[in-house]
Structures are given as structure tokens and as C-alpha cells.
Subunit: 408 residues, 3 copies
Amino acid sequence: MKKTMRCILLSCALPVWGLMASTAAAKDFVLTDTEKGIKLGDWSITSAQLKAQVKTPFSVSNKVLHGGKQEGSEVITISSGDFVIKLSPSRGMGILSVTGKGLRLGWDSPVDEVVNPAFVNLESRGGSGWLDGFNEMMVRCGFEWTGHAVVADGMTYTLHGRAGNTPASKVIVGIEERAPYAISVKGLIKENTFKKSKLETWAELRYVPGSATFTVHDAVTNKGDYRQDFQIIYHSNFGAPLLEEGAKFHAPIKEISPFNDYAVQGIDDWQTYLGPTRDFDEMVFNVIPFADENKQTLALLTNKAGDRGVSIGFDITQLPVLSLWKNTDTLKQGYVTGLEPGTSFAYPVTIAREQGRVRTLEPGQSANFDLEYRLLPDRAAVDGSLKRIAAIQEQGPLQVNKTPMTRK
Amino acid sequence: MKKTMRCILLSCALPVWGLMASTAAAKDFVLTDTEKGIKLGDWSITSAQLKAQVKTPFSVSNKVLHGGKQEGSEVITISSGDFVIKLSPSRGMGILSVTGKGLRLGWDSPVDEVVNPAFVNLESRGGSGWLDGFNEMMVRCGFEWTGHAVVADGMTYTLHGRAGNTPASKVIVGIEERAPYAISVKGLIKENTFKKSKLETWAELRYVPGSATFTVHDAVTNKGDYRQDFQIIYHSNFGAPLLEEGAKFHAPIKEISPFNDYAVQGIDDWQTYLGPTRDFDEMVFNVIPFADENKQTLALLTNKAGDRGVSIGFDITQLPVLSLWKNTDTLKQGYVTGLEPGTSFAYPVTIAREQGRVRTLEPGQSANFDLEYRLLPDRAAVDGSLKRIAAIQEQGPLQVNKTPMTRK
Amino acid sequence: MKKTMRCILLSCALPVWGLMASTAAAKDFVLTDTEKGIKLGDWSITSAQLKAQVKTPFSVSNKVLHGGKQEGSEVITISSGDFVIKLSPSRGMGILSVTGKGLRLGWDSPVDEVVNPAFVNLESRGGSGWLDGFNEMMVRCGFEWTGHAVVADGMTYTLHGRAGNTPASKVIVGIEERAPYAISVKGLIKENTFKKSKLETWAELRYVPGSATFTVHDAVTNKGDYRQDFQIIYHSNFGAPLLEEGAKFHAPIKEISPFNDYAVQGIDDWQTYLGPTRDFDEMVFNVIPFADENKQTLALLTNKAGDRGVSIGFDITQLPVLSLWKNTDTLKQGYVTGLEPGTSFAYPVTIAREQGRVRTLEPGQSANFDLEYRLLPDRAAVDGSLKRIAAIQEQGPLQVNKTPMTRK
């Protein structure tokens, strides 16, 4: 009874996608399939074509981009009224931007093209070539490894892994055949290397036209015969206008600490953001969240007034930690914050190993990751999320450690 | 007399390709030509279109693949009845698979796409990025260098060189205009780098419809003005069902030794294969073969029963050594053996230099490589090859060295 | 009065492009625009289609190349009578070759395809992967850095930077709507990397049909919020037949010195060229030129007879130094000389920093580079340039330093 009530009050997201997966039959459109030799390229479908009974028309389209380093990159656009989601199968199904409900999720990176991975050299810049393509609202940092670049085991573990620069081998758009005509876009990301890895991830985004949330559902499977290490950080990035001076980060926090020595000086102000600040560069804070009895938690970014925001709901059994990335540097340098639920922090894989935060998959085993991104267009929506955070925080006090966990 | 007899008995291959090259006029189809601006893309020709007088129809086709990391890769398929050869101009004319006569040549790599070299970073994984694309039945490891990755001369000599990840600049399909309508597919692989290399290789595959053999004929030419080092390993790979527990390797062997310390423990069992074996990884044995008076030799893989097999015939003046690669690990890890005739073993180029196994080409000079792959569908065919091996072995005893040649 | 006279006598180039930019309205053809989703691919326009009133017809075309490592590369060709300019938007707007007036600008590199940067790994060969694509008559070496490869700051500064292997994000062909129907081709080269660089360069080539000159006008802008280092070398390369034994280099020189110890032995013969010379490799000389009162200078290459040549005019406030690259090795190795005006010499960025030759751009600031390439088809034209050089040289003596500036 109490639990049901809270779900209603706090807009518990899980039933939504549970519903989607089971209720209505969906019509599938295969955009890409390496096995069947399918690649549709430019393509679109509309609610009118589907004879969908909707007040607000919706559409899903795919477009092949051209020119510069985005030659050949593909972008899928889901539109429903003023709600627009853009994601790129070419870049590991990363979400480029979401707009709607008067909000804009995403940011302005100096990288302003949807860079085809064929033009990205992850080994460049000492293993930080990933920076040549980084501009997503959400990029998967994984799965074979994640975190800062490091040379170990005779190789360079390049910054944030390879999934984000791996083009999808299969791309399927599914649209339910009756109301609410839930839309799903899923892509298969293969991290397959002889003797090294056979991690295959079905990366899915779901959206119910008219709603203020979209969800991500990934299943990474070890298709190999050996136990396989893996890590994932859902690098979710928000810039102006939501991010502004006085904007706030909220989460039910068990423990927060600075990522490194530079972040020590910002630990007291972990909750609030600066405006665009010259020479700020980036401060990262390691967050271990509390969760409710269903292991669900959420992280929240609000504007200064507290009447707009975005929340990310996730499961701490799936994603036990969160990196809070404050990159409140100048607008052109990239004014952005990352709320990054992950299996591990952003340390190099060598440190993640020491911390016991590298996970493993047995042969054939899958790990699932379910995240809900909720656009909070007004004070009531923001307050709803704040109440839920407060309720979870009742489990214990927030502990602020002022020393980086890597400093012995 | 005796020699002719043996040729008949042991199905001496050389006359076949000698015949092909000289007898009938051939119709050429230029699929790709960088100089003339030709790239046909999807294309096919059939025996019917050619009005060829054949009982069993044949066809040759080219297909452009899409999706994932195989976007843009091309695959040429030669079909004649149940005999199907697939090769990829995008991947240095590598042979992907051959099926026919109830046999399957090839293997199941965790890499299950025909990876476009644009998505391969040979420098990655400490110079072993080649593993991101490796799944061929035969891949050319060369020509500028071959072998394991090593840092020397201020650069990384990446694993197995660059030819296998070089798209062909010219691709020509030739079909003879009368019986037996021999088919040839040849591609030009350019390893051209200012100040470093101007090695151009015409890589050719020939097949006579209806036959159980196909042949490879490469001519690598130093188009530069300076003496040029080169190496080549014909990395020829066979998996299940031919490879199985009790399968056997045969060759007329002068000397065999373990590649490294790990292989020492397997040297006594060099001739037989294990079934898929967890944690086996790979054992490599260095083989120096005997040859007949024409410098021809052959290596043979048979199943346990000895009623199916595949042989590779080659010339020891062209390819004096053979690497026997036993990768009898689990099925999903890649259960495969490589019979790899080469100018050198799989050691890094630095060691190959010490061993005197790096060859040179004078300006304008070419080196030719001719290999015959023969499918052996029954015991008689297998026994024929075994007899030929036994005859060559009569030249001397098989010497087993239990110490790796790199251990002083 | 005197100044005007000299301009007439010495064919002062600046008014030409000043004129072009201001006089006639131009019709623009957008070939590529990443923002607008435009990519025309194969395209052409002719003077006839434009109803241009010209004696000698002209045309501009774009062609997408196929096959080998040039798959997808584009080449723009400007033709007017026997004058043909080829440049490649795919390779940073580099100029491939220019022919006309009986002259040929360009050279024969072992790299004989217009290599798509997707197939170039700048990190390879110890940071010299740039050599895999180098065959241009003029390639921009910059802008984030230039010079020889060096490991510093935890990364490899790869040989000659990234611009030359960056495909243009926008490409616009402009043709004036009345005589002289001046043609311009400009492309936008973005060197954008999160946290590292936001250098955007409009790279332009202009040609007036019928004339013997073409000009280059680049504007590199720091679109970021922080001061940004940059460097540029206009690596301009000329081979046979203009380059020959006894060919000569001329410039008004304040100081010339050998680049390194190897070049010391060639310093006395800096002005003359050898014929194709086995084992010559390359000698580089560092030149600091004098300029006229408008800061204009020029460098000149003439054949032995002095009746053919090419000059490059540039502004020493923009490009204060020149690298004279003598690569008079064999024809197939690449018989070529580079006359390379630059902000710095070809030393690694670490040395350029010590020399104070790394420039900076404040946020929003642009740097302009204007070069005039003039084909000199006869003795009179050559002598005109020689006179101009002699006039500028009157400012002071030529100082030959026989010790490399890097030797303390």
C-alpha cells in the first residue's frame, strides 16, 4: 500500500517500461542488419502512415549525414509535438540531444559534428582521442573498459572505452500498434576482438509519445566462453540553460568525495554550480548513492529557481556509483555537467580493479541497465523528485569525505 | 616416367595453373580501378549470361556490405554448384571461407563482420589492433613486415603487417571464354608510404569450376628505387568440423620446434589436435619442411578418421618455413588451426632479422608466391596426399627440437 | 610613384586578389555543408552553362574517387584552357597539382592515390603516419601544431599536424558573374577537440581564368574561449621537370642555416639542386627571408636554364620563415623540393616553443595567410622575379650559418 502510494506520488518509472515491453504488439522496422545485408539509410515513418489514432502526430526518421568528419554518420530522430530525441547508431546509439517540455537536454561541445568513428583515433592524444567525437547528451563509456586512459598490460586502455565509437550492427525501430504507441529504438553494439572480447550490447531507448520521460535499457552479454571484465558509465551531460549559476545537484547520498586533488577545493560546494567560469576546467566528485527498498535511486539537476530540472533514475544494483562531473568552464570551452551513473568511477581501469569496481560476466551471462531520464518542466515536477530524494536520504546521513579515495 | 606417374597419382597441381594461364582467352571484368575511376559495387556475372557450355552453372558476384564495422566492405563470391569461395577486396583480397565437396574451410572468429579497415586501428592494443578484424580463412600477413608486434626503429611494427587491412586499388575478375572456364580474381594491394615502402602486390585467386582445388598466386613487386625488406605469412585457418579432437597435421618435416616456452609442453603432441579445450590458448610450432625435387611441398590437415582433409601445396624456395598454429581453445573463443607457409616464422621482425628470414627485393624486382589449396573429400584423396608427404619425407628424418629457437 | 612602378614591373600580386574580393558579384555553389546536410558529390559547372563571355572556356568540377584507400575522397578540378588545378576537400583542401603555361607544379610521390583520411593513422610509424597520404603540391601542415613528430605533454604530436588529413566541413565554389570570372574554392577545416582545440580555418584558393597565378587565402580562427597555440607550414612541393640538376632556389635571404647535422654538408650548395641522387634522402635548410617595405617577399625555383620557374609570394608578418626542403633522391623515391613558408621551421613543436615560433590566437582572433603561386613560363618571367628578389636583397647581406640552430 505504502509502496504503491509512493510510486504514484513519485512517478515510479519502472511500470512504464514494464508495460511497454508486454502490452501491445509492436511493428518493427529494421533499419540496419549486418547479417541480412539491410541498411535503409534515409528513412522515416509517421503516425499518419501508421494510421495511429493520436492527437499529436509523431514520427521517427533516420538520416545519413554528410561532409567533414560526419560523412556517413546516421542520426535517428524521434519527434512528437515539441519533443525531439536525437540519437546516433553510428556512435554506439549515443543520445545526441533531447528537447521538449520547454527543456533542452544536451550541451554545446566544441565538437559540433556527429563524428563518424572512422575518423576517430582513440589512441591519439595519449589515449584520449575519444575527445575528438565527444558531444553527446548521453554516451556509453564502456563496456570492455571505461575511465581515464592508462597504459597497462602492454596496451593503452583509451579514455572511456570503445562502445561510443562503435557503429551499431543492427538497428531496429519498434512502434506499438496501439495507444500509447510506445516507440523503441535499439541497436546492437559489438565489441568483438579475437582473443580479447566478445561483448555484445543491445542498447535501447524507449519513448512514449506525449510523455516527459524516456528510458534506456541495455543488455550487455558476454558471448564468449571466458569470464569477461566489463565496466560502464552512462555519461549523461547537461548544459545551458538548465545548467546555470546556482543550479543544483541533488541525490540521496551515502558518501561523496573529490575525485582528485583539484576537486578537493570544490568539495564544500558540491551541490551548487558556478556559471561559466574561466579556468575552471573540471571538477569531479565520486558519489555513492542511497536507494529505496527496490534499489532504485535518482540524481537530479535543477536550475537555480528550482522550477526546471532533469532527473535520472537508476538501480544501484546495476549502477552502484555516480560520477558528478562539473565542467562549468566557459560556454565555448563546453559548459556542462555530467551526472554519470556507473559500475565504477572515472578512474583508469587499473584503479577500478584495485577498488573492486570492475565487474565480470560469466560466459553467456548478461547484465542489464535501466535508466529513466525525466524532464521536469515546472516546480511541482522538481519538488516531486526532491521529495523522493529526501525520502531515500532518510536511510542515513550524507557523508562528505574531503580526501580523494585514491590518496592513501 | 616416375615423375609423371607421381604427378598423376598425387594430383600434382602446378600443371593446372600453368594450363589456366596459357590456354584459353579470358574475359576480364574490372570491378575496381582507382586510376580509371571504376568501382562497380554490387555486380554479378553468371555462366548463363556468358553462354558458357557447362553442366554445373557458375557465377561470380560482388557485394557491398553495410552496417556496423563492415560498412562499405566488399565481398566477392565465386559459386559453382555447392562450391563457394568468398574473398574480400577490402581486406587485402583475403579469403573469407570456402565450402564444397562436403567440406568447410574457415572458422568461427569472435569477429563476425567483414571489418572495413577504416574501422581498424592497427596500433591499438599495443600494436595488436589487427585482432579486431581477423576472421579470414586466409589472410596475407605482410608484406612490409609480418609477425608479432614489436617496438623498434622508433615505431611499432604492428601485428602481421598491413596488407590484410589494405583495400585493393584494382580488382579484376577474369573468366576463360571456353571450358573449363577457369575463374581468376586478382586485386592490387598497395603498401605505399613516402620514404618507407612502395610494395605493390597483385594478389590472385584461381578456381576451375568443378575442381576441388583453388590456387593463390601473388606477385609482390618493389616499385621503389631502393632495396626493400619484405616478409609474408599465408595465415591459412581451419576450424570445425574438419578440426576436431584427434585431427592430425601432416607434412614432410625436416625440423619442428616449439615457438616459445608455452609450446614446449605440447611439442610431443605436435601432430594431433585436441578438441575445444578451455584455457588452451594457442601453441605455435615452427616447421621447416622438406620438399620434392621441384621444391614443392605440402601441409595437410585431416580429420580424426582420416577421410576428410585439406592440403596446402607450396614452394619452399618461395616459402621456406611453416608456422603450425594450434588454437584449439573453446568454440566461441575461436577453435582453429593455422597452417601458415611463410618466408619467416611469426616472431617479431626484429627476431626475423636475426634469423636471416627477412627477404629483400631489389628495385623493380618481384617475388612470386604460388599456393594450392586442395579439398580432400574422402579417404582416397587424403591417402593420396599422405603418400606424397611420405615420399618427400624419405629425404631424411624428422627432427624434433624441444627448445624454442629463440632460447639461447 | 616608385612603389606603383615596382608593382607593375614585378607583377605585384596583392591587387589581384584585392580586386577579386571586391569587384564583381560571385555566384556561389555550395558543394558540401555539414550544417545544411549538403553534399553534392559528382558535380560540374562550365562557362557555357554560366553563359560567361569568354574566349577560353573554363569549368569547375568535383569528383568522388573510388577504390583502394582513396574510396570516398573528393577532388575539385578547375580547368581553363591548358591550365588545370586539382585540389582535395577530403585532404584539408590540399592542392594536388597544377599544370599550365607549359609547366607542371607537383611531384610523383610513392603515394599515388588521394588517400581518404579514414585510412590514415597519423599515430602510426612513431607518429609519422602522415607519410601514408603525402603527395600534394601543397599541403597545410598545421594548425594545432606542425613539424616533426615528438612525444610531449603525454601525447604524440604527430608529423605536420592534422589539418591535411581533415575533410572539409563546408566547401563552396564561387565564380564571379562577369569578366574575368574569377574562381574561388574555399573549404572549412575544423580542428575541434573537446578541451583541446577549436581552430577553424577557411582555406581558399583563387584563380582568374587565363592568368598564370593562383592564390591561397586562409583565415584560421580561434573559436574557443582560451588563447590557443597554432603553427602552419605551407608545404609546397615541386618535382620534375622543373626540378632538375642545376635547378636553383632564389629568395631574398637574411639568414640561411642547415636544419640538422646531415644538412651541414650541403649548406655551401644551398642554392643549387642535384639531379635524382641515390641515398641523398633529404636536406632541409632554415631560411629567414628579407621582405619589401610592405612585408612582402618571395621564393623562387627555376630550372637550370633559368627560363622556367615558379614563385611563391608571401608576407613575412604572416609567415616569417621558410623551410627549404631538398629531397633530391631518386625519381621513384620522390624527387622533390619543398619551398615552405611557415610560422615556424619543421622542428618538433617542443623546439618551436623554445624558439618562440609557436603563435597564439586570442579567443575569437583570426590569423590570415595569403600566398601567391606564380607560374613563370619563360626567361622574362623568371628574370622579373629575380629582379624583385635582388631588389629586396639590397636590404642587407645574405648570412650563411653553417651550424644548425639546434646545436648549442
